[in-house]
């Protein structure tokens, strides 16, 4: 099976090259037989890459240590679940994994559009074939997971214990699913540019895939935060590390696109901008993969200097150059069909939202690349860290939060005073009341107060929308509140799903602002000794050390310290934190010891204990009070749920029959006049 897999990898590369060539040729020559051949080649590529992947999984699960990849990433005594996930834990495997997802997505996109968008599909399939060629060629020539060692070790090196965590098992695949999904909109954008068919027909396909990408990126990023929080033990979940930034960048531009696409659907505006956003999102995904894989930028996550760097750079520049050429030669086809009428309108609010999102993306990219840029320009390496990112992104983030409340409610074209009053009086009053209340309760910190005021405002706009919608249903259909609520969301999935995502965003902002009140204590405790302090809410805490204990479990030695905790004198349970030393199957220690954080979570506060070390009966601990952290995970989950509601396909079909909207699934001939008509 392993040999078959290796062979399939090479056949897959040939198939992708064939798909790329004949699809472009078929499109240019209008030859249906070539187009059909290209389509079949895409399906075959997927079958081949899948076979190669099964081959690698077989090698891993049978623990064939003659393969360098297997020997380098797993050991005989590792649980099978992490052996399975070792597929994407290393470079060669993750390249194959990229190719696997891309070929799968390509096959679906080509299959789903085989009857629709006939003029676009050949070029889209050709573009996807070209991207597949790049990834498969890199896998075959530069990072081949099937490379054999010239000797067979007794055991492998094993996996870093920090990666042996459920979050780490599912965080990378989600990010990859998100990254790779940006390739489909890119391919359709290229197809639309090549054929100059830049009306609504390419947008329908693209919106779905962009949503899918956004959905997986959101889950991937939040899982990454969760992993960093529970596993790395530095007390936070986001450090503005280049690798984190790399996943954040396509999320930002993808989010911008999902908003600006509405303007194009409704008003035929922002057409150039949308093409650029689609392309930039894809390029940032490639850039993200490249950063995590190349070691170009100093990062704690940094992977070793890798041989695929130059291939990635070449691909990046070719893709950028091609797009710039295509956009530049097709500017005329991208003229807007309507003009901005007022600065106080939904169009304008969405425009600001886009500018802020792209502004944040630019600032994050700038900060991430600054060490390289400053070295080029001034010959000295200057790094910027969290202070830079926080200073820039706090005000921008707050502006974005405000727009989250304003955008969905303000009228199209030009908002009247009556519209503004009707929509915003109650939410604005709610937000201000919350701000004043918190100030009166003694909350300090300017940014935090502004954040909670705005969060109150946005939350109120969302609740107001749901209230209005449910009331209307009750009045018209006589439904009960829960039924009305469910039907309201089900009938307008895009709108109310969007509000649910916004509710998640509000929670995230509230949680971020809570970090302003985080406190940290480094303590040294003997058995029975206690440490007393107050948490940020003013509650009194007492921690009593139960002493260190050491015991041997499956493939690791665990040293743990339990603290008995009392909050305002009442017992609040035990918090146990651990240091783990992993062993290989020959009982030799592998890797550095790793930390297992002890966390006591409530809605208001996380009490977070890290064991720094144990000497004799002295335990060195860091106790951190992290307010509101739970809301990051709840908000993230809510965003994913909202995204799922928006994506649910049935809503689209129903929408297609509604008048007034540009149908996303209707054939191009119908859709194009609809855009014109709404102008």
């Amino acid at each position: 099976m392993i040999l078959v897999g290796e062979l399939a990898l090479w056949v897959g590369l040939l198939m992708a090259a064939w798909a790329c060539t004949v699809s472009f040729a078929g499109g240019a020559l209008q030859r249906d037989d070539l187009i059909a051949s290209g389509r079949r080649a895409i399906y075959t590529t997927f079958a081949m890459v899948l076979t190669a992947s099964i081959g690698l999984w077989t090698a891993l699960l049978t623990r064939d240590f003659s393969l360098e990849y297997v020997a380098g990433h797993i050991s005989a005594n590792m649980p099978n679940v992490y052996v399975f996930t070792a597929f994407w834990s290393g470079q060669a495997g993750s390249m194959l994994f990229w190719a696997l997802i891309l070929s799968f997505y390509s096959a679906i996109a080509v299959y789903a559009n085989r009857e629709r968008n006939r003029s676009l599909v050949p070029y889209a399939a050709g573009t996807l074939g070209a991207i597949l060629v790049f990834f498969l060629a890199t896998t075959c020539f530069k990072a081949n997971p099937f490379t054999r060692l010239d000797w067979t070790p007794m055991d492998g090196r094993g996996m870093n214990p920090q990666l042996q965590n459920p979050g780490m098992a599912i965080h990378p695949p989600n990010l990859y699913l998100g990254y790779v999904a940006t390739a489909i909109p890119f391919a359709f954008a290229i197809a639309a540019l090549v054929t100059r068919r830049l009306d609504a027909d390419w947008l329908g396909v693209v919106r779905r895939w962009s949503l899918l990408s956004w959905f997986f990126l959101t889950i991937g990023i939040v899982l990454g935060m969760w992993w960093a929080y529970v596993e790395l033990g530095w007390g936070g979940y986001w450090a503005w590390d280049p690798v984190e930034n790399a996943s954040f960048l396509p999320w930002l531009t993808g989010t911008a696109f999902l908003h600006s696409i509405m303007i194009q659907e409704k008003r035929g505006m922002l057409r150039k901008w949308n093409v650029v956003l689609v392309v930039v999102t894809f390029l940032l995904s490639i850039f993200g993969t490249f950063i995590t894989r190349s070691g170009v930028i100093e990062s704690v996550h940094s992977f070793a200097q890798s041989p695929v760097g130059s291939w990635f750079s070449a691909f990046f520049f070719i893709a950028t150059g091609t797009t710039i050429y295509l956009v530049a030669t097709r500017l005329k086809n991208l003229e807007a069909k309507a003009e901005l009428e007022s600065m106080v309108s939904r169009e304008a609010a969405f425009l600001y939202n886009n500018l802020v999102l792209v502004g944040i993306a630019f600032a994050v990219l700038w900060g991430t690349l600054f060490p390289i840029l400053s070295e080029w320009v001034r010959a000295e390496k200057i790094t910027v860290g969290p202070p830079f990112f926080n200073a820039v992104n706090r005000p921008l983030g707050l502006l974005l939060l405000a727009l989250t409340g304003i955008g969905p409610l303000i009228a199209w074209r030009k908002a009247s005073t009556a519209n503004l009053k009707r929509q915003f009086v109650v939410p604005a009053a709610t937000g201000l009341a919350l701000g004043v209340l918190l100030f009166a309760l003694g909350m300090g910190g300017g940014y935090a107060l502004v954040t909670y005021t705005l969060a109150g405002f946005v939350a109120a706009t969302i609740l107001q929308e749901f209230y209005k919608g449910v009331s209307a249903r009750r009045a018209i259909h006589g439904e009960s509140i829960p039924v009305g609520f469910v039907r309201l969301v089900a009938r307008n999935r895009r709108r109310y799903g969007g509000y649910i995502v916004h509710a998640g965003i509000v929670m995230l902002f509230a949680a971020f602002a809570g970090l302003a009140f985080k406190t940290e204590h480094d303590v040294t405790l003997r058995t029975g000794q206690q440490f007393e302090t107050n948490d940020p809410y003013g509650h009194h805490w007492r921690f009593v050390s139960q002493g260190a204990s050491t015991d041997r479990r499956a493939n690791r030695m665990v040293t743990s310290v339990a603290l008995e905790t009392f909050r305002d004198g009442k017992p609040a349970g035990f918090i146990t934190s651990e240091k783990r030393q992993y062993f290989d199957s020959a009982d030799r220690p592998t890797f550095e010891p790793s930390t297992e954080v002890g966390i006591r979570s409530t809605a208001k506060l996380d009490t977070y204990v890290v064991l720094a070390g144990v000497r004799g009966d002295v335990a060195e601990l860091r106790v951190t009070f992290n307010p509101l952290v739970v809301w990051v995970w709840i908000g993230g989950a809510l965003m994913a749920i909202g995204g799922l509601i928006v994506m649910w396909p049935q809503a689209e079909r129903r929408r297609a029959t509604q008048a007034g909207y540009v149908s996303v699934l209707a054939p191009a001939r119908v859709a194009a006049p609809a855009v014109g008509a709404s102008v």
Partner: protein, 151 residues
């Protein structure tokens, strides 16, 4: 033309502050990232550079790590091959901080020639990924593969 003007104004309203924020924050928060040799030549040229916080990327000298018993102070030496100097750091060291790893220390060089670090980041090339190609044929890499220790 009218719409274009409005786009332009809106764009400037948002991107102006973004640009300003970025420029000012880089000035305020940018930190030099130097090797030990670069740091010592800078200090030789201008001794007031001592007051500037810098990051230094270097490798820990094997066997030089000492922990203050009972406390949480670390003393060790770092090198880039050409220059070596002592570092003291107070705080929790990351799990990866062991002999001969690459570290990034942030802080200031004291008058006594000891670098006082306020943050300590450690990274290990073998941590998440296999070694670069040039190391693959070395005996150390194979020993690492066999599972005894990090190369």
């Amino acid at each position: 033309m009218k719409a274009r003007t409005k786009f332009l104004i809106g764009g400037l309203l948002v991107l102006g502050p973004v640009g300003y924020l970025m420029a000012s924050s880089i000035k305020q928060t940018g930190v030099y990232y130097l090797t030990p040799s670069e740091l010592s030549s800078r200090l030789a040229a201008d001794s007031s550079f001592r007051n500037v916080g810098v990051k230094v990327g270097a490798r820990v000298v094997p066997g030089s790590i000492e922990r203050d018993p009972g406390g949480r102070e670390y003393a060790f030496r770092v090198t880039d091959g050409a220059k070596t100097f002592p570092v003291v750091y107070r705080g929790i060291a990351p799990d990866t901080f062991t002999d001969s790893v690459d570290v990034v220390v942030e802080g200031r060089m004291g008058r006594d020639g000891t670098f006082r670090a306020t943050t300590l980041l450690a990274k290990c090339a073998s941590r998440y990924e296999s070694a670069p190609e040039k190391y693959r044929s070395t005996p150390g890499y194979k020993a690492g593969l066999a599972g005894s220790s990090r190369a």
